[in-house]
């Protein structure tokens, strides 16, 4: 049968080469794959949910089996999510697997990105894949935000309200941009169906397309590797694609699906029925976004309410933390590989990874940025922290304001010192050791050192 295809497509040679392709093996290189497999689970469960979800803001009367909401008016969208949760076979577990998979998907993307950053894997010639990776992160976040908002419950409506306020705060174009995106002044009838189109058509197409490109470029450029065991800048050492990598990846995929299925089956997530239908006059506390938007919510909570006038236009207070901060963060991340090569003057190709200690400044900057991110993310839960620790919200907020400024500097300095110390110890342990020299037999029968 294979011959039949080969006669028509001539793919035997290409396939044979592909199956033998060598991939460096290090466990930290698998994070991206785990993210990919989360995406597989997301697509599978998402298709199921799409069969039952109704992207419609029309008001209906709920007749389903959740008693407290029986007979209440709600959007058809929220009704369909309640039906999915209570009246569709396996609907709730599919919803929960989908939601857990989304939270874990972004988490694993972040871990993968941290691995790439701290090992310098984005350096020439792989800047392109770094840029596509940033795009993937943006698409994944957009998928998360649109998906979070689809159920049209009270919690997600509160989130949309905040997004609307952030968009409208953009100087000069804000109101127009918000009206364009939402189809009018919040709350709009159009937003649910628009979110649906973004979530199941536009964004998945972009996301899957970018994943394809990401993998194609990886295949073309080969994977980076750590130094050691013959691995050199011009020599890649590892396991063949077939059978080693294929079997590893299959196992990883099955286990990823297993973990996500277990979470979806055992741990409740987003019980939309407790929040009730969205009503712009209501809000419940605590209200939080999913974790990956927490840093933006946290920034809004921590940032002092600064409002100023620029060329006769008022810049509302959500602009600096809600729009400028993420803009700066993604701007710096996007430009990072180019900034680094510009500052260091290093324009060579790199296929061997650096360990974090090998680039102390980069590692310290990365740790500082990560600290800001973590503190801001925790700040999104300032009221929950106050409830659990029984500390006034105001004190929690002031503490976090202090932490977000001071901790990054402290951790950066500590990180830099640790890197330097590790380097120093490594050098010290090598001192006094005989240096290995490669010898070459010469014509006279003796040996001469080969200089490399």
């Amino acid at each position: 049968m294979f011959r039949w295809f080969d006669d028509r497509l001539g793919i035997a040679g290409w396939t044979r080469g592909g199956l033998r392709k060598v991939f460096p093996d290090h466990w930290s290189f698998l994070f991206g794959e785990v993210a990919l497999f989360c995406l597989v689970v997301l697509v599978a469960t998402g298709v199921f949910l799409t069969l039952f979800y109704v992207p419609d803001a029309t008001l209906v009367t709920y007749e389903g089996s959740y008693l407290p909401l029986h007979g209440q008016r709600m959007s058809a969208a929220y009704e369909s999510v309640l039906d999915l949760s209570f009246d569709v076979q396996a609907g709730l577990v599919m919803r929960q697997v989908h939601h857990w998979a989304a939270l874990v998907f972004v988490a694993v993307i972040v871990v993968h990105q941290l691995r790439v950053f701290f090992t310098g894997a984005y350096r020439k010639p792989r800047e392109l894949n770094w840029l596509i990776g940033i795009g993937l992160l943006v698409f994944a976040l957009a998928m998360g935000i649109t998906g979070y908002s689809l159920p049209d419950d009270l919690l997600s409506g509160t989130g949309l309200r905040i997004i609307y306020s952030a968009v409208i705060s953009i100087p000069f174009i804000g109101p127009w941009a918000a009206f364009l995106l939402f189809g009018g002044e919040f709350p709009t009838e159009a937003i649910v169906s628009r979110l649906f189109v973004f979530h199941i058509m536009l964004l998945p197409a972009l996301l899957l397309g970018a994943v394809g490109l990401h993998l194609a470029i990886l295949w073309r450029q080969t994977h980076t590797q750590f130094a050691g065991e013959g691995a050199r800048e011009d020599r890649i050492v590892g396991k063949a694609f077939w059978p080693s990598q294929v079997f590893k990846s299959t196992g990883l995929m099955l286990l990823t699906a297993a973990v996500l299925a277990l979470m979806g089956g055992l741990i409740q997530i987003n019980p939309v029925w407790t929040y009730g239908p969205f009503d712009p006059t209501r809000v419940s506390a605590p209200s939080q976004p999913d974790w990956y938007v927490g840093w933006l919510d946290g920034a809004l909570r921590l940032f002092p309410p600064i409002e100023f006038t620029l060329v006769g236009v008022t810049i509302p207070s959500p602009f600096l933390p809600g729009v400028l901060l993420p803009g700066l963060a993604f701007g710096i991340m996007t430009l990072w590989p180019f900034l680094e090569s510009w500052v260091t003057g290093d324009h060579r190709e790199h296929h061997i990874l650096e360990r974090p200690r090998d680039a102390p400044v980069r590692t310290a900057i990365g740790v500082a940025a990560l600290t800001v991110f973590v503190v801001l993310t925790l700040s999104a839960g300032n009221d929950v922290a106050s409830l659990i620790l029984r500390i006034p919200v105001e004190e929690t907020t002031n503490l976090l304001r202090f932490a977000v400024v001071v901790l990054p500097v402290v951790f950066a300095v500590i990180t830099y010192r640790i890197c330097r110390e590790l380097q120093r110890r490594e050098l010290a342990s090598l001192a006094g050791r005989p240096v290995a020299v490669r010898l070459e037999r010469n014509e006279a029968g003796g040996f001469t050192p080969e200089d490399e």
Partner: protein, 255 residues
């Protein structure tokens, strides 16, 4: 090494679930009787335990509050939930704790405080399933903004807590609405509405909550935590198990 790591991860996951599950509602006691107590016995108890702060006729001794017009509802709520006697400074929020008085003494004290002035009487909410929908709507508008959609409590600023309603009996719920203890506003609703809210609160406590471990019922914060520790944590451990070097490299090729 591998086994230790797995065991440690497992232990962390189990511990997390236990901690989060412990935030779930504990069992509730039965409603106390509505049999009125004796004003005379109550006065004796009041002179001994209350008038230092609340004054001989409930007028309050600055900075402690006047309670002459607090009514039976408020007195019953404060004493039955152990909030009174107050422990701490006047500005501190009264903490729920085991009641300091026995059942008979509480009824006597309530009768005496009720006799001091004009306040709401002890309500008698009825658990009625036909009021569930009304209860959900009233709860969403009036209660959820502070106590949370699941009634698991929230922080309301100034160090005060909107307490979890996870073990509040229907009567305590109705009394709190009439009395408005601490920073809580008074919700002087008709009896039917008090019953509706009490019915919904009891539904939140007792109805089966589908979906598995409720991990606190306080929204996306514990969800994000579990996504990282259980989800990402397990998957990173799995990646390490599968991806660590089990054998020598098989080959090499030009980069």
């Amino acid at each position: 090494m591998r086994r230790t790591l797995l065991a440690a991860l497992g232990a962390v996951a189990v511990l997390l679930l236990v901690v989060l599950a412990s935030l779930a509602p504990p069992a509730r006691g039965d409603d106390a009787s509505l049999e009125p107590g004796s004003v005379e016995r109550g006065e004796v108890l009041y002179r001994a335990g209350c008038q230092t702060c609340h004054g001989p006729a409930g007028g309050g001794v600055d900075p402690w509050p006047a309670i002459a017009n607090a009514g039976e509802a408020s007195a019953d709520f404060q004493l039955r939930t152990g909030r009174m006697p107050h422990a701490g400074e006047p500005d501190d929020q009264a903490q729920p704790k085991p009641p300091a008085y026995d059942e008979q003494s509480i009824r006597d004290l309530v009768a005496f405080v009720g006799s001091l002035g004009d306040g709401p009487a002890i309500p008698d909410p009825v658990i009625d399933e036909s009021l569930l929908q009304r209860g959900q709507q009233l709860f969403a508008v009036n209660c959820a903004p502070c106590h949370g959609a699941t009634g698991n409590g929230g922080a309301v600023g100034g160090g005060a807590i909107a307490w979890p309603l996870t073990d509040a009996s229907p009567r305590i719920v109705a009394e709190a609405m009439l009395a408005g203890p601490g920073q809580m506003p008074v919700f002087a609703l008709p009896d039917d509405d008090l019953s509706a809210v009490a019915t919904y609160v009891q539904y939140l406590q007792e109805a089966p909550n589908p979906g598995g471990f409720a991990i606190g019922g306080i929204g996306p914060v514990p969800e994000g935590f579990v996504a990282w520790v259980v989800g990402a944590g397990l998957l990173i451990a799995i990646a390490w198990l599968i991806g660590r070097r089990w054998s020598k490299p098989e080959g090499d090729e030009p980069a």
